[in-house]
């Protein structure tokens, strides 16, 4: 509709003057948007503040850097053997370690308080001690006192511990305690998951030569093995039988264990106890030397004196 005249002004003027302030005012839609965004932001802040406190993964413990790559541990039973013999054993280790840049760790079995248990238990605190002394070592190789390293050309980290080598060497699905233990070694163990390598002889597990990978698992394993409760049980063969026991009863230990053929680490001097030493094996152990009816260890060691010759040319 069109009006002829413009609409009439009312007779009463408006009571207020029109607004002339210079202040910009936020009106209507913009105010609403701002308020709503502000509220949404505050809500989000509050929500995330309540929940965001997640715990991170447990801290990684110190990873050994590999210096020295291997530490050779030997425990000397000074009461039983002559000094000349023990010095020869020490020299055997030192020469080998010097050749490959390894560390050595020599202790006496009397250094540790075994609470009256057989002296062979001293192996465990010795290896644990080596881990403390050499926190950056990758592997710890324990070798019995009555054993000699015969072939200095072989390096532990390649000959034994390299993951691909372990996967070749590992004896899979084999009873851990011969002849008929129902607990068998794992078949699908990866080389880098192995933390403990040892061998079997004819009677059972042989704790005269084994390698552990330095780390938290090894500490747990050694401290469990060294629990006084196993010593008070008076196993017939001390720590060896204790080892057989814990390996069968505790799968977290079995899960990191690999058995390798005996001659890789632990050839015996006699056929009687296990696989016999052949030329080129890494180490030989004088099996049952000095025991009733056998030759003393000193005389037995003469049979294997050729290890000295291996260092002549270098």
């Amino acid at each position: 509709m069109h009006f002829a005249y413009p609409p009439r002004k009312s007779s009463n003027p408006p009571p207020f003057r029109p607004r002339t302030s210079a202040l910009p005012t936020i009106r209507g839609k913009r105010l609403k948007t701002i308020v709503l965004t502000g509220l949404a932001f505050l809500t989000l802040l509050w929500l995330f503040q309540r929940g965001g406190r997640s715990r991170h993964a447990p801290p990684a413990y110190h990873k050994p850097s590999g210096n020295p790559p291997v530490v050779i541990v030997t425990v000397f039973n000074e009461g039983k053997y002559g000094k000349g013999y023990l010095d020869m054993v020490k020299e055997n280790r030192l020469k080998y370690a010097e050749k490959h840049g390894y560390g050595t760790f020599f202790v006496k079995s009397s250094d540790y308080d075994l609470r009256g248990a057989p002296v062979s238990w001293a192996t465990l605190p010795a290896v644990r001690h080596a881990m403390t002394k050499f926190p950056d070592a990758s592997y710890i190789w324990y070798l019995d006192q009555n054993a000699f390293i015969m072939n200095p050309l072989l390096k532990i980290e390649e000959h034994v511990m390299k993951p691909s080598r372990l996967e070749e060497l590992m004896i899979k699905d084999h009873p851990v305690v011969p002849p008929d233990s129902i607990i068998k070694t794992f078949s699908h163990l990866k080389g880098h998951d192995v933390d403990f390598v040892l061998t079997q002889d004819k009677d059972g597990l042989s704790s005269s030569s084994f390698v552990v990978k330095n780390g938290e698992w090894a500490k747990f394993f050694l401290e469990t093995w060294f629990d006084p409760i196993y010593r008070t049980y008076n196993f017939q063969k001390a720590e060896q039988h204790a080892l057989e026991h814990i390996v069968q009863w505790h799968p977290t230990i079995l899960a990191k264990l690999a058995l390798v053929p005996q001659r890789i680490l632990n050839s015996y001097s006699k056929e009687k106890g296990g696989q016999e030493y052949k030329e080129g094996d890494l180490a030989v152990r004088l099996y049952a030397c000095g025991e009733a009816g056998e030759d003393t260890c000193e005389t037995e060691s003469q049979r294997f004196a050729q290890w000295k010759a291996a260092y002549q040319d270098s």
Partner: protein
């Protein structure tokens, strides 16, 4: 309607709407009624009486007796109409149709009609806020909402409740035992529903495989292992014995412990050492970390949190975290050689085994932390009471301790009585505002007035 003015009152009362005549009613009511005919066609008895004349009784209307006769118009007008109607509100009101015609709603409509836009928005906002509060704080939906990892992380916690202890095999499980179990389970269920945790109720009945001759294992270990498998998202597991009661369900575990683990736990057992374990381990062949009294001091390496009572470790209420360390502990916790030598001495089974492990093996100390006993494991005054009420051990109402563990109540104390009392105490301490108003004000006023105690 073609009248220009309303008709004047007619003697006999009533509004005689000229358009709607009613020949049946002697008292002049003009609302349309039907004469209810009897089954044989004659008018029903009261109609007949009316037709006979009003001299026999008072003249009150007998017409609008039935429900439908009184409410027909209102009902029929509020029924849905299916004809497409283009009339707007005002016209509808004039016609007398539409639901807004009811008196109450009309008032609300009037009020909202008079409100400015701003007031309407504020009111809408307020209602929305109230709705949000209700949905997010007081309905069962809080369970789902508090489970998510970005809104509370409730799914990281699982409570394992050891129920059916004994299972009635060695001892009779009577009404009291059932009642204790019911109360304990109900308490944990409510707590879990409030904070979004998981609850796993495990059956601790006497099983053959845990009997002496079988030497299989300790039950707690097996249950913790299977729970960690069952709840893959769970990070922490809280083991609770049956005779426990959560006294302060308004405290979540995150607020109480987990958001500030490093402040509430202590790793050096020398702070409170009822077993006199020599700590730190002093063997010379150990490394620095094992010899340190507080481990690495990092709360992320804690995998076991427990408390000690007056006689040693107490595993009635403890926490375990998922991890490699826990796998190792759960594996070596039970050993047949250890069992064979020690089971006669170890009355508390896995508790004593853990004490022995802690003493002998340093790797365990690295990830174990202790909580002050009254934080998760207060005792009632009957337990551990050789020295009277010990502020370190016994439940204190003033401090509003979190959980009460009625340990050892089977020997010489009244389990049911204790459970009942703690339950009632918990309800009393955690009354809502309304209940407080009723009990503290109204009942008090009533008592002052009448001298009688009453409960609303």
């Amino acid at each position: 309607m073609s009248l220009s003015r309303s008709p004047s009152p007619v003697p006999g009362g009533g509004w005689a709407s000229p358009g709607l005549t009613n020949n049946l009613s002697p008292s002049g009511r003009s609302s349309p009624t039907k004469a209810y005919a009897g089954s044989n066609g004659t008018p029903v008895m009261w109609e007949r009486q009316k037709n006979m004349g009003g001299a026999a009784y008072q003249s009150f209307s007998t017409q609008n007796q039935g429900f439908f006769s009184r409410h027909m118009r209102r009902i029929s007008s509020s029924l849905p109409r299916f004809k497409a109607d283009n009339t707007h509100g005002a016209e509808r009101e004039k016609i007398g149709q539409g639901r807004w015609n009811m008196p109450r709603l009309g008032r609300i409509r009037g009020i909202t009609g008079r409100m400015s836009r701003r007031t309407k928005m504020l009111l809408a906002f307020g209602l929305l806020f109230l709705l949000g509060y209700i949905i997010f704080y007081s309905t069962p939906l809080v369970y789902y909402y508090r489970r998510t990892s970005w809104l509370g992380g409730g799914q990281k916690f699982v409570i394992i409740l050891a129920a059916n202890v004994g299972g009635g095999v060695m001892e009779w499980k009577g009404a009291r035992e059932w009642a204790i179990e019911r109360d304990s389970i109900r308490n944990k269920k409510k707590y879990v529903a409030k904070w979004g945790y998981d609850l796993e109720i495990v059956d601790m009945s006497t099983k053959k495989r845990y009997a002496h001759e079988w030497r299989e294992s300790w039950e707690k270990v097996d249950f913790i292992r299977s729970t960690l498998r069952k709840y893959p998202k769970a990070e922490w597991v809280w083991w609770l014995d049956l005779n426990t009661f959560i006294m302060e369900p308004s405290k979540s575990l995150q607020d109480h412990i987990f958001d500030h683990i490093e402040d509430v736990t202590y790793r050096d057992i020398n702070e409170y050492n009822p077993l006199n374990i020599s700590h730190p381990p002093a063997d010379p062949y150990l490394d620095e970390l094992s010899k340190s009294p507080i481990g690495d001091g990092n709360p992320d390496s804690i995998h076991l949190m427990l408390s000690q009572d007056c006689s040693g470790f107490n595993l009635g209420s403890f926490f375990m975290r998922r991890g490699t360390w826990t796998d190792h502990l759960l594996d070596v916790w039970w050993d047949p050689v250890a069992y064979e030598q020690k089971h006669m001495e170890w009355e508390h089974k896995e508790q004593d085994a853990l004490e022995q492990l802690y003493t002998a093996q340093p790797w365990i100390r690295k990830s174990t932390a202790f909580l002050p006993q009254r934080m998760i494991n207060s005792f009632p005054t009957g337990a551990c009471s050789e020295k009277g009420t010990d502020p370190r051990i016994h439940y204190d109402q003033k401090d509003r301790d979190f959980l009460v563990n009625m340990a050892g109540c089977e020997w010489g104390r009244d389990c049911w009585g204790e459970m009942y009392n703690f339950r009632e105490l918990s309800y009393h301490l955690n009354r809502s505002l309304w209940e407080r108003f009723k009990e503290d004000l109204l009942c008090w006023i009533w008592f002052k007035l009448t001298g009688k105690k009453v409960k609303f």
